[in-house]
Structure formats: C-alpha cells, structure tokens
C-alpha cells in the first residue's frame, strides 16, 4: 500500500509551466554562476567510483539516477529559485540553465552530507521522516528504487560507496545483455515431496501438507516467493527425522558397506559421500563431507553407528543443499556464469519431471557431457518421454486454471448430491489424462481448447450423461470418450465446477478465468462502496438475467462488460460441470461476445464457438506462453521472463502451438545455461581481470515481499486546491494497472470546491465519486455534484482504476 501526502496548488502552477516534466520554471538564469559547483563536482580525478567500465562517476550517477527520475520530476517543483522552497538550502536550477548540473550536484551533495541523528537529510526530508517534517510531505517512499538511489548518492557523497560488488551481482536483465540474476530456488512443496520420495525410494505424503507458500500469479513455484519460515523449518525438521527413521529401519540394505567388516568410520565416510550426492544432487564439497562426518561421529558416540547415520540423514534432508536448487554457475569471464553440469541436471529434471535427476542424467553431469547443448537436448527429449513428465504438466494445468482448488470448492450437498469426492477425483483425473494425451501425441494448444473427446471413468461418463468410452480402460479406469461438445479443456467438469458458486453457475467466475488465465488481462477487484451483493437466486429469473440486471449499473459495467459476456458462453454447464439445456424453468441463452482484446474480439454462441475463437487467437497463444514461462522459469519478474519470452513465442508459433515445443525451446535458450552478464553498453572488453558488475541498475525487481511483479511508473505527489490535503491509497495493483482510493480533506474552516491533480499515465478504466480530465501525464479530478464541495474540516473520497 502506498501513501502519498499532498502538496499544494502552487505545485500545480509550477508543473503546468513545464509540461515536459523536465526543467523548472525559471527561464532566465538569474543565478548566473554555478558557484562552487566545479570544485565539488567529481570530474573523475580521484573519484573512487570512476573506475571506468560499468561504474558511473558520481556526476553521472547524480544525473541519471537522482536528477532525472527524482529531483527533476518531483523536488524542483518547490525547490527552485522562485518556488515555495526557495529559502531552503536546496535550490535547484532548471535543466539547461548555465551550470545547472554542477550547481545542483553541489547543492544536493551539501544536503546529503548534513545529518540528523546519523541519517542524511537527503533521506529524511523527502520521506518526511525529519523531526521538522517536510513541507512537501512524503515524496519518496522508503524501500523504493528512488529511495535506494538517494541512499547510494549519500554513500557516494560520504565516500563510503564502492562500485566493486560481489561477483555476479548487478543487473543481468536480458535486454541489457545479461542472462538473468544468479539465484537459488527453494523446492516447492510438490518438488520437495518428489525429492523425498526419490531419496526414500518409495512414495510419501510428507511435504504436501506443509504451510502453504505465497502464490504468485496462481503458481506455487515462484522462486522469489519461496523462502523458509520458522514454521516451515520446523516442518522440514519433522519430515527429515521421519524419513531418517524409515531409512535407518532398513539400514543394512541402504548402507552400501558393512560397518563391522569395513570399519565404522570408513563405512560412514562412504555412506555420507554416496548418500549426500543423492540428496544434494551433486558431489559434496570437502567441507560438507567433513561436517557430516563430524556430526556422525558425535552422534554415534552416544547413539551407536546407526544413530549417527540417522542424525546425518536428518541433517542432510534439512540442509540448504537439499532444499535449494542453485543457479549460480561458475565464472566464465565478462561477468558471465555458466551453470555447472550438476546445476543443469537439476534444472532440466525439475523442469520436466518435477523431481531430482535420475542416474542417467547424473552420469551425464558427472562426466560433464551435459554442458554440450546437443546432449542437453537429448536428455530433455528422453525425460519428456518419461511417465513422470506428466506430473509437472498436471501441476501446471492445475495452477494455470486454478483447478488445484477442485477438491475443496464447497458445493451444496443437498442440491448436488451426485458430486461425490470420487467424482471430483475422477474429474481431475479426466483433465490430467486429457492434457497428458494431447501433450504426448504432439498435440497443440488449439487441440487442447477444442477437442471433442476426453477421458472418463464409466462413472464419470454416467455423471456427465454421455456414453461411456469403448475399449480397454487404463489402470485408473479411464477410457477415451466423446464429450458431445468441441470445447476441450475449458468445459471439463474440473474447470466448470471449480469456477462456480455453491448453488449455481457463475458467469463472473468463468468470464474472469478466461480474461485472466487465457488472455492474461488481470481484472481489478470491484471498487469499494458499491453494492456488490451477488444477485439472489430467484426462480423467476435465469442466471443470465440475474447477472445482466446486476451488472447494468454503469459503474459495474466497465469491468463486467469484459467478463460476463464471456462467462455466459458457459451457461450450458451447471455448477458441478454437467451439461444442461434448461436453467431451472428458463431456456439457456449462451450467446456472448469477446470485447476489448487485441486480436480476439468477436461474438459467439455457446462454449464451442467461444473455444474456437480462443483457439485461433494469437492473444491466447501469447498468454499461454507467458503462463507457461511463469511456471517453468518460476518467476513473474521481467528480468527472467524477458530472457526467454521472445524465443519461446517464436518457437511456439513456429511449431503451430505444439505443446511440447515450449520445453525444448526453453532448454535451448541461453538463460537455461547461463546467468549474470554485465549491463554494459560498452562492447569494449576493457579489463582482463575481475569483472566489475556493479552498476547503476543494481536494484533487481523485488518480488519476494509483495508477491507481485513489476512496479509501475513512478508517481509524484498530487497537487490540490489550497487548504486541501489528499491521501492516495493503492487498493490493488496488477501488471497492467492499479486501483486507488483518494481521500480529500479540507484542513480549513470554510468549505472548498476541490480539485486534485495526480501525475499518472494510462487509461482510466473506472472511476467513482469524481470526474476527471486527462493530459499526457496527469489526471485532473473534480467532485461529482454531491461531493464537489467539501465542508470545513470535512473529508470526501473518490477512487479510480487505471490501466497503464
């Protein structure tokens, strides 16, 4: 949540005078000389940061990271020779005025070097944390890129900054010639479970019920979000001890040596090396080997040989070496890190089969052949043919379409007694088998979306009311069967049931599913202070009629016009996934329309036609690629997705949407094999020594804390009528936009007709309690007739959603 406090109408005037957002208002440079500026300006001589290469000098840093994005946008509106802050020590000259850069650098450096309580004024003031406050309010929020830039400038001014960063650090975005940030990926709970099972050599449930991880864009394997909490660490401990007990119970068979014949020490040594390699998916380092031998020795002294082994296993299974996969690599020059063969083996294996490398893959890692791209591809193709490859595919589909909730979505048992837990399981099995079949058969996304067949148990076929399939069932009892429709995956019972309400179908949920998961257009939540009660079930109205009435309000219609007409297309499917021709006493009207997309607009009648429309849409193809990339790369951040998206899209199009083409395309990317890379625009290999990979853009996208993707454009403080204070609260934010509520407070003793100007670009999707006009970068808000005037000491509020 972001909160920004108001400034004052004077700012509006100042800003109006410089619509480019560039320089200040002063045109004739009466502050003639850049007094003292050249003295303090770091011109290179003796500047510890001016090491050439990628490290900007203080002056360069000031201009690109402090002046341009912050001072020239926000501060100069008051801090200019004629501005409200003209009597403070920080008076900034407009860009282009004679000596402006030197003068501004000097002035800001002086502020940076002044401290209060050990903290620089340059950090205290704009964040409004100074005891004397900041008249302009909080214009820079802590923990933002802007704040970090100010902090770096302070460090540079104080002489405590160095560009020499740890190896491999720094921007490594693909658009900058890098190959992504060197990272670690904690195993998702499902990956952990499969890894434990591999170590144990038997299936286990351990891990599946662990404390749920942060879900990003619906996916549970986001590398940025997966961390270890106190609770999870305890769950790891508990599970590790249980597995250790199971293995020790079968110790002679597991040990690979005889402690009596070979000697306890030697046997423990051999076991730790062999078992450790299996657990860590790579050979142990000498330090690790020594660490575990010491642990074994200490424990064995009290609990005998087997007790020592038990504790060794329990520790290994809680170790970061087991819980994280590393993508750190080995330095190969120029800031590039090549993933090690064992890292590649894990990356490939978890990508395709969702578990640790098998013996054959480990062998290719051990002898290093996996580093050869042809061998990597060969191994990928081999794993794709493995039955385990289905498990990761299922996981992706479950999370992509949210059907991981199918088993728990509540449904009215009195209305739908037929929806037993067994039927729910059969529905999930149906979808999994169908997807697996399309995938293995070399099928395409279009087939996934428009197939007229599926896989059902006889019970499920009976439940749906379609003829049971012919032929031999698979071990789960599933047979290929005609569905009587041509809408593929989307009308599966699993999807239709998950996206419905306890007592009725839900055009809203189903429309939203298509918008967000197939078209990748995230929808904002409804604005507050609206009556959003779902239309009550009324036998006199069909579901469609109820929802049409409900969304007729113009405030609602803005969003619901995008959602409901798609959802109506599924009205032939009831709340538990069965087809129907009547909705109560009402005939079904499943006609609808896709609106407001790039390439997918059009009318349709029923789910089959909707599916045809989607299957032929490049929007859906691009969205599917993005969804799969989020899952496969475990990221929602541009820095990683950028590295693969173009190649994936090209390959997917080339293969006409063939599902398995994405896996092989990803394996072929540079991102799959490398990390790091300096963000240098200088093609000249300047240094032969250690790369200096620090640079101006060291703040990677931070997704660990917010669970969200990229941040939107910077937003400077709003401008208001005098006497009005404004607080903006971001209610929600998604990739393409955000929703904000704005509280307007009259601080005076007389009523005020208010206006608020907010610097923000985009298309207003929806606004309430206020009207707006817009130019290229600003929104001017005025109240509706009922709240245009705000009483003395009174408040009112309005809100809006904007698409970037």
């Amino acid at each position: 949540m972001r909160t920004i406090y108001a400034s004052n109408l004077a700012l509006l005037l100042a800003l109006a005078a410089c619509p480019s957002g560039g320089g200040g208002a002063s045109t004739d440079s009466d502050t003639d000389a850049a007094t003292g500026g050249t003295d303090t300006m770091a011109t290179g001589n003796g500047d510890p940061t001016d090491g050439g290469g990628d490290c900007p000098s203080d002056a360069q840093f000031f201009e690109t990271s402090v002046w341009t994005p912050i001072l020239s946008k926000t501060c100069i509106t008051c801090h200019n020779p004629d501005g409200l802050a003209k009597d403070t020590r920080m008076v900034l000259l407009a860009e282009g005025a004679e000596g402006w850069l030197e003068a501004n650098l000097a002035a800001v450096k002086e502020v940076a070097l002044d401290e209060d309580g050990g903290v620089s004024l340059l950090l205290l003031k704009p964040t409004n944390q100074h005891p004397d406050m900041h008249k302009g309010g909080m214009v820079v929020t802590p923990d933002t890129e802007a704040y970090d830039a100010l902090a770096e400038f302070v460090a540079r001014s104080q002489g405590t900054f160095s560009c020499t960063a740890p190896d491999g650090e720094g921007a490594a975005g693909c658009d900058e010639g890098g190959a992504g940030v060197r990272r670690v990926r904690r195993l998702s709970h499902v990956e952990y479970n499969r890894s434990l099972a591999a170590v144990l050599g038997a299936p286990t449930d351990l891990g599946l019920g662990f404390a749920a991880d942060t879900v990003v864009h619906g996916y549970t394997n986001n590398a940025g979000a997966l961390v270890v909490s106190g609770l999870l660490a305890d769950q790891y401990r508990d599970a590790a001890e249980k597995i250790a007990d199971l293995i020790v119970a079968d110790l002679p068979a597991r040990l690979g040596c005889d402690p009596e014949a070979d000697g306890e020490q030697a046997c423990a040594h051999a076991f730790i090396a062999r078992f450790g390699k299996q657990v860590f998916r790579r050979p142990l380092t000498a330090d690790e080997q020594a660490r575990y031998e010491t642990l074994w020795k200490e424990a064995a002294a009290i609990e005998k040989f087997a007790g020592g082994i038990r504790w060794t296993i329990a520790a290994m299974l809680q170790s970061p070496g087991f819980l994280y996969r590393t993508e750190l690599g080995e330095h190969a020059g120029d800031g590039i890190y090549q993933l090690t063969p064992h890292e590649l083996a894990s990356e490939l294996s978890y990508l395709i089969v969702g578990g640790p490398p098998d013996a054959q893959l480990m062998a290719a890692a051990d002898d290093g052949t996996l580093k050869d791209p042809p061998e990597l591809k060969k191994q990928a193709a081999r794993l794709l043919a493995d039955a385990d490859a289905d498990a990761t595919l299922h996981r992706f589909v479950d999370e992509w379409l949210h059907i991981d909730r199918l088993r728990t979505v509540p449904r009215d048992a009195a209305l739908y007694p037929e929806l037993t837990p067994q039927i729910r399981d059969a529905m999930l099995g149906e979808t999994h088998r169908f997807v697996g079949d399309v995938y293995r058969g070399g099928g395409s996304l279009a087939e996934l979306l428009t197939a007229d067949y599926s896989y059902m148990t006889d019970d499920l076929a009976g439940y749906y009311g379609v003829p049971a399939g012919a032929g031999e069932p698979d071990p789960g009892g599933f047979k290929k069967a005609e569905t009587g429709a041509a809408a593929g995956l989307l009308t599966h019972g699993a999807v239709m049931t998950t996206h419905a309400l306890p007592t009725s179908s839900s055009p809203i949920h189903r429309g939203k599913l298509v918008r967000e998961r197939l078209l990748c257009q995230d929808m904002p939540p409804p604005p507050p202070a609206l009556d959003t009660s779902p239309p009550p079930v009324d036998p006199g109205l069909s579901t469609r009629e109820r929802y049409t009435q409900h969304s007729s309000d113009p405030t609602c219609a803005g969003c619901h016009a995008r959602i409901d007409p798609i959802g109506f297309g599924f009205e032939h499917y009831d709340a538990v996934g069965r087809t129907r021709t009547m909705d109560g006493i009402h005939p079904i009207d499943a006609s609808g329309e896709v609106l407001l997309t790039d390439n997918s607009d059009g009318p349709f009648d029923g789910a089959d036609e909707l599916a045809q429309l989607l299957a032929g849409s490049p929007d859906v193809e691009a969205c599917f690629t993005l969804q799969w990339a989020r899952y496969a790369v475990g990221s929602a951040a541009g820095s990683e997705l950028q590295c693969v998206q173009d190649e994936l899209r090209a390959a997917f199009s080339e293969a006409e949407g063939r599902l398995d083409s994405l896996v092989l395309a990803l394996v072929g990317t540079r991102f799959f094999r490398e990390r790091g890379g300096a963000p240098s625009s200088d093609p000249d290999p300047t240094t032969g020594g250690d790369p200096t990979t620090g640079g101006p853009a060291t703040t990677g996208e931070d997704e660990t804390t917010t669970g969200d993707g990229t941040t939107g454009g910077p937003m400077s403080g709003p401008m208001t009528t005098p006497g009005i204070d404004v607080q903006i609260t971001q209610d929600s934010k998604w990739e393409q936009g955000e929703c904000n509520s704005v509280t307007v407070s009259n601080t005076t003793g007389a009523p005020i007709v208010w206006q608020v100007v907010i610097a923000m670009q985009g298309t207003i999707q929806n606004a309430w309690n206020a009207k707006y006009t817009q130019d290229a970068s600003h929104l001017l808000w005025t109240g509706e007739p009922y709240n245009a005037e705000v009483a003395a000491q009174g408040t009112t509020s309005f809100g809006f959603c904007i698409l970037y």
Binding site: M1, T3, T127, T141, P166, G168, E169, G170, V181, R182, V184, G209, A211, A212, T214, V215, T220, A225, V227, V228, S229, L231, D234, D238, E288, R291, Y292, A299, I302, Q318, S319, P320, G321, Y324, T326, L328, R405, T408, P410, A413, L415, L501, P502, T503, P525, P526, P527, P528, A529, L530, D531, T532, P534, P536, G700, T705, T729, D731, S732, T743
Partner: protein, 428 residues
C-alpha cells in the same frame, strides 16, 4: 539476526537447556510504566465483515445488551468480560484485500513506528524473546488458495506474511511432541537437534556467502527460521499435555468446527504452559468460500456476506454463521477464564487481552469503515470490562496503540501515524 543472537548465547556459556533462565537477564526494555498490564495478547479473526444492523448491541456504555437473534447474542453469558468497540475505520483501506492487509497493521510501512508489522508480530518482537515461541499462529482452512494478501493477516514486515499452521496434528507435534518419553529422553533429543541446527546454520551461512545481494535475503530468512527452530527446542517443564487432536482432512469443509476446537484447545494449552505470550487464530480468510454446512447452511460465507436485505433467508444464513463464529470466540474466552494462572493468582483471562478482529465493516459495501471489534479480558486489571464503546470514525490504529500499551509497550503510534496518535480514549 540469528548469528549474532547465537554467539551471545554461546558466549554466556550456557546451553539451551538453561535458556529459560535467560529471561532473568533480559531487561524489560520497552515496558512502559503506568498501570497494570496484560501478560498475553490473543488475536481471533473471522472473515467477510459484518452486517452492522445485525451486529450492533443496544444500550449505553455500561448498560447494554445484545439484541435477540443478533450476531453477538451468544456472547451474553460473557458480556461482563467484554469491551465491545464499534465505529473504528481502517483509514485509507477498502475492500477485502485492503481490509485484510490493514486490519492488524493499520497500514503501517517500514518507516512507521510499527515498521509495517501486524500487531501480533510487533508485540511478539518486543516481548517474545523469553518464551519458546515469540508467537504462535493457528489457522483453520486459511491456505487452500495458497499464501496471498487475501489469505494472510499477520505481517513480520511490509509484505512479509507469517503463515499460520492449519494442521492440528503438526501443531501438536511441534508444541507437545517432545514430551513423549520423559524428561531425560526429551533433553537428549533436544541436544541432538540443537547440534543439527548448528550444522544447518553453517551450511546456510556458507551458501549465503555465494549469493549476490539480490538473493541474500532468502538465506537471511532461512537463518532467522533456524533461529526460531532453535528457540523452539527449549523445553517447557511441568506442563499439562492436551489431548492429541483427531486427524482428518485439514481442508475438508465439514471438518471446520473440529479443527477450530482443536486449535483453540492447543492454543490455550500453549499459553498456559507459557510457550508463548502472543497467539492468533485465523478462521479461514477474506473472501472465504467456507460453507457453514454444519449449521445446515448451503451458500458460501463470502456470497452470504454480500447479500442484500431483500434476501431475507440469505441474511438469516449469514447471521447464523456469524453467531457460530461468536460461539467460537466465547469458547476461547471461557477456556481462558477457566484456566488459572500458574501462580494461581486469577485466571488466564484476567491477564490477557483477546481481540476479535474483522477485515471490513459493512460487507455489503466492501468498506473498511465502522469495523467491529470485540475485546475480552481485563488486561491485568487495566481496563474495566463490560463496556460498549461507540466511536465515530476513529482510526483503528489507536486501538492498536491501546493494545500495545496494555501489553506494557510505550509506543504512541501504530501503523499510519498521520491519522492519529495515542490510544483510544477510554482504552488507556
């Protein structure tokens, strides 16, 4: 940071077995002078706002009652131990997600006095050093949708969620599992686990050293987690074991009442054993799809919460579910009231503050103004109970300040301080 804390422990030459004595060494740093204080804070959450007309008591501050059929009526029996608070606003927050995020943080950010933490984590960070767990988070079906703004209420910092444990079996093992097999066996087990934690700290530290600054926070979090595990290894002595909970599907809707009861039982037992002094129980989450099927209700709680008054049957179902939530709150409060303190000086409830929080006011409007709170317990005699406090749009951050001060802390702001400082009047 865990590393620093560990070196202090080791530097003092005492192992973890002696750790309970550490509280003799710790100064009551942030405890304020001034009046009696509570010993423990308990947060109880139930989702999807309320229908104010169905919730409101009638009467005055000291002479009030819960109208027949209203949501709070089940609390009549414990009315004397309650402080019912109405009319607080989550300033600047609206809607399900906004409310869930603001409810316990009062919209704090890193630069606020509360550092963007939720009240439970803020209090735990101040008073939790001496107990085996600085706080415990219990959940009932909070996680079918995974972790997200909608499903988490507890924050250890801006955007950093603390995940509740939804599994009573695991809770039992974590809290009470060590006590099987007698004290000596338990001590040996703890010593061995401690040794493993030492090794894990070495390994995590070593991996951390190989990472760039972007990735280090992950291993920092891991090291903190290990520090918590280590602390959790501390034994508690002379403590009664509750019954082990029944197994069963933790996400099975029909199991909701059983899990709730089991979690409350274990929470009270953990508090009685002084394993922690800060605990929370989160019943489902905002936008909860839970169906109160055990009451014969068939529609999901979220849908019911938005039903308008013309749908009389729907409103009645919502009220019925809410009354059930009130019953659970009462069960918790009564259980605390029936448990004497270890020193036999009064009941646990006498020295506790229990807060029933919701994330929205009027659910039909999706607003976070007029959000209802119910407090139980006298905070060690600090507060007179049996009161009904009506405010007109005070910031709920002030209630958070009241709660902090009742816990002996001295902060004058909580969360966004721009919308008010100090405690709520009449909750000083």
């Amino acid at each position: 940071m865990s590393i620093r804390r560990r070196s202090v422990l080791h530097g003092l030459g005492i192992g973890l077995v002696a750790a309970p004595f550490l509280n003799l060494l710790s100064a009551p740093s942030s405890r304020a002078d001034g009046g009696p204080t509570a010993k423990r804070l308990i947060v109880f959450f139930s989702p999807n706002g309320t229908i104010p007309q169905q919730w409101k008591p009638s009467g005055t501050e000291t002479n009030f009652s819960f109208p027949p059929g209203s949501i709070l009526e089940p609390l009549t029996e414990i009315q004397d131990q309650l402080i019912v608070v109405e009319g607080l606003d989550f300033f600047g927050a609206d809607n399900h997600e906004g409310g869930m995020a603001a409810m316990l943080t009062a919209s704090g950010t890193a630069s606020d006095e509360s550092g963007g933490m939720s009240i439970d984590q803020y209090v735990a960070a101040q008073i939790g050093q001496d107990t085996r767990f600085s706080s415990l988070e219990f959940g009932v079906q909070t996680s079918a949708w995974g972790g997200g703004v909608q499903t988490r209420m507890s924050y250890s910092g801006p955007g950093a969620w603390v995940t509740p444990d939804d599994d009573p079996m695991h809770v039992y093992g974590r809290l009470f599992g060590d006590f099987m097999g007698g004290d000596e066996a338990a001590a040996a087990l703890r010593a061995r686990r401690q040794r493993v934690v030492d090794l894990l700290v070495d390994e995590a530290t070593s991996l951390r050293g190989r990472l760039g600054s972007e990735e280090r926070p992950k291993l920092d979090a891991h090291l903190d987690a290990l520090a918590k595990v280590e602390k959790g290894l501390m034994g508690a002595v002379g403590c009664g074991l509750p019954d082990a909970p029944m197994g069963g599907g933790t996400q099975d809707n029909a199991n909701f009442p059983n899990i709730t009861a089991a979690q409350i039982d274990m929470m009270v037992a953990a508090l009685a054993c002084d394993m922690t002094r800060v605990a929370s129980l989160q019943l489902s989450h905002t936008v909860s799809p839970t169906v109160c099927s055990w009451l014969g209700v068939s529609e999901g709680h979220h849908s019911l919460s938005h039903i308008d008054d013309s749908n009389v049957a729907g409103v009645a179902q919502f009220v019925e579910c809410e009354r059930w939530m009130a019953e659970q709150f009462k069960y918790l409060v009564q259980k605390l009231a029936m448990t004497p303190e270890a020193d036999m000086q009064g009941s646990m409830l006498d020295n506790s503050v229990v807060v029933w929080a919701k994330e929205m006011g009027d659910s039909r409007l999706h607003t976070c103004s007029g959000v209802p709170f119910v407090i139980a317990g006298g905070a060690g005699g600090r507060w007179q109970t049996g009161r009904y406090l009506k405010f007109a749009g005070e910031s709920h951050g002030k209630l958070m300040v009241s709660l902090c001060q009742a816990m002996g802390l001295s902060n004058e702001t909580f969360g966004n301080s721009m919308v008010g400082n100090g405690p709520l009047p009449s909750l000083v």
